[in-house]
Symmetry: C2
Subunit: 407 residues, 2 copies
């Protein structure tokens, strides 16, 4: 029997407890041992829980319990999760977490402590909810050099964009609906401003390239500026608009990483990933493109990834699983203005397209009543910014600019 | 340093050797040890290989070499692979294989020997080529009860069907093109008759449900009967035709497994998997649908999965990875005539649709010049066969019948 603890009894935590109780037989068959929840940490009371007697409000009861070998941190946020996880690892306990904020902010340090203590720190649930991605990337793709990772990593924004695309629902209405359905939080900033997707691409990039990439090093744009006009024009260009987290390895070994809305060609595997679903493309030098798709959030999907990590820890109590990246200072990341991308612009003004063509060279264009849009060839983003200024100087109003992803 | 051997220097074997040599640094970084190819078994000579001195024609040189801890079997076929793998496992060596025929025919026995000897028998490359599927199913989905697995598991037939769908290319031409491009073998029977896809769904079903399912227990239909008329009518019904391997767990615990072409609704995630690509949907009770997509075959994709398994074996030389299923006698599988499915029929004859409607109840139909097609509601397949006979008795010629998948 392996004794475990769960810190947090919110959506994911209660889901993990539920799976450990309801899937006991399944887990026993796979592990050959029983997994028993010894403690659940939460400041609230849950008198109706079938294991109400195992709740505690005192972290030390978990920290100091030598029988507890594995702890799931599913509280979310940095404080006190960061402090708790550090102390648990130092006490020789393996920790699993669904907390992308924590992993994106302190992953390198926590992995390093885990390595020192010869315990595991796993976080499959931190990216893609129930979609297996951390473990396949770390293990199955071990024989690949990862050229690129690109994904739809945030279900809330993907739900909003899908409603805008499929039903021409304005952004505000789609956001409100997402909130009503429980896909978006009351304060949706972390989602719609791209911070959540940014944390996740940081985790995948750190894993792929072996050095921690902090969110502050990553240029991040949200979807609040996307309008139904953009959605319509994107369709004219054979594309849909998706919020993409993306990292590429450049020929000189440096890394190009960004979180931003992009026009995604309809034939791309990422174009068909709709509503609250997530999809992640990993481009290996040997495998080519491999895509992982599924529910990126939700109680049981995320909880099942937490439980899979608990099982993995139980299987590797003696021998540590290899999952590691070093700390990073961002020096391997190019400035986002150096990045090469094609661009989409929605513009207004007399002879706007002629002026655009004379500045940008070959463009593809589409027009509505008093507004038009065009896409450019690939160019360095910094050059694009200069040309966009020049276009404005010629009296053209730029209503919207979005990257065109070659996905 | 871990010493390994590779048996077979064909497409996959030479790819595995290439990756072990070219990705040395990457592998060392992940494993913390060097992996060295000590022997390669092949009856042919490869004087131009950079490691020409390590080739041998004598299996015993590998079997009796105590330094060799891990062996990759990439010869294909049952003989002598089966005998060799058994002897290697009994000699205490871990074995990895890309050989789906071997795993589908003898997986339970080989897994049982591996368990006795406390070594690993891994076969990530046997299904889906470079797509991680065995390991994610076994590990990440450990906290799920798998309700269903359905996939496009054969790249050759998917290439042929895609050419038929996208370019209205007749079956024979598409097959010839696949052969020219190296996607189909000179004798394409195993692919186009569905045997290859059947072996793969057997492996996934054995893994999902813990008992070996042998290909002979699985009703298997190929794609040789599919015509361009069927492709057109499928499109009228909002579907594409795909060769699907599928296994479902029924409420009574029994298993419904089949390999057959199916009409797949265009909105399904499996509908957009085209050409030589494979895609596998795993429906877990907690995760919901998770889809894995990528190149299902080819030298480097498949070889990279073989190398990932080699690395996993090297990481688990002392402690065995848990991957196991027991032998099975097929008693948990329902007869395919008990299976419930909607059907598509292409028919010819006077008042064919009226006669069909009076027999099958509500149908959806479409007509061309002198031929028409319809789809039925879901019914037990055995009842369908009876009604189809009744339809024939009324003078209606049945040109084609295909299952409609609720995928």
């Amino acid at each position: 029997m392996v004794q475990v603890a769960i810190m947090g009894h919110g959506v994911v935590g209660s889901g993990a407890a539920e799976i450990l109780l309801t899937h006991k037989q399944q887990l026993f068959a796979n592990l050959g041992e029983e997994i028993r929840i010894k403690k659940i940490l939460d400041l609230r009371e849950f008198p109706d829980s079938p294991i109400a007697d195992r709740f505690t409000k005192d972290f030390d009861e978990i920290l100091n319990d030598l029988e507890i070998r594995v702890v799931a941190e599913v509280m979310g946020g940095i404080n006190p999760a960061y402090d708790y996880v550090k102390r648990l690892l130092k006490a020789g306990k393996s920790v699993v977490t669904s907390n992308k904020e924590l992993v994106a902010a302190h992953g390198a340090e926590l992995l390093s402590i885990a390595a020192q203590e010869n315990v595991n720190f796993l976080f499959e649930a931190s990216v893609g909810g129930g979609i297996p991605i951390i473990r396949p990337m770390n293990q199955c793709l071990v024989a690949n050099i990862v050229d690129e990772v690109a994904g739809i990593l945030n279900g809330t924004t993907n739900f909003i964009l899908t409603k805008m695309i499929e039903e021409s629902m304005p952004f505000d209405d789609a956001l409100r609906l997402a909130q009503e359905l429980g896909f978006a939080e009351r304060n949706p900033e972390a989602d719609i401003e791209g911070h959540d997707a940014c944390r996740k691409i940081c985790i995948l990039a750190s894993l792929a390239y072996g050095k921690h990439i902090y969110p502050k090093s990553v240029h991040t744009e949200g979807i609040t500026g996307i309008t139904l006009e953009d959605v319509r024009f994107a369709s004219d260009f054979g594309c849909v608009i998706k919020l993409i987290g993306r990292v590429k390895k450049l020929k000189d070994g440096r890394i190009d990483i960004i979180t931003a809305p992009m026009l995604v060609p309809c034939k791309s595997q990422l174009a068909n990933i709709d509503y609250e679903f997530n999809g992640i493309m990993v481009r290996g030098d040997c495998t080519g493109d491999v895509v992982f798709y599924g529910k990126g959030a939700g109680k049981l999907p995320t909880a099942s990834a937490v439980v899979a990590d608990i099982v993995d820890c139980c299987q590797h109590l003696k021998e540590r699983r290899f999952l590691f990246w070093a700390d990073g200072d961002g020096s391997n990341i190019i400035d986002y203005r150096e990045s090469v991308t094609a661009m989409y612009l929605r513009v207004k003004g007399e002879n706007a397209l002629e002026k655009a063509a004379s500045l940008f060279g070959e463009i593809e264009s589409s027009e509505e009543a008093d507004v038009c849009a065009f896409t450019t060839a690939k160019m360095v983003y910094g050059d694009f910014l200069e040309k966009a200024e020049a276009l404005k100087a010629e009296g053209v109003e730029i209503l919207s600019t979005i990257r065109v992803g070659d996905l």
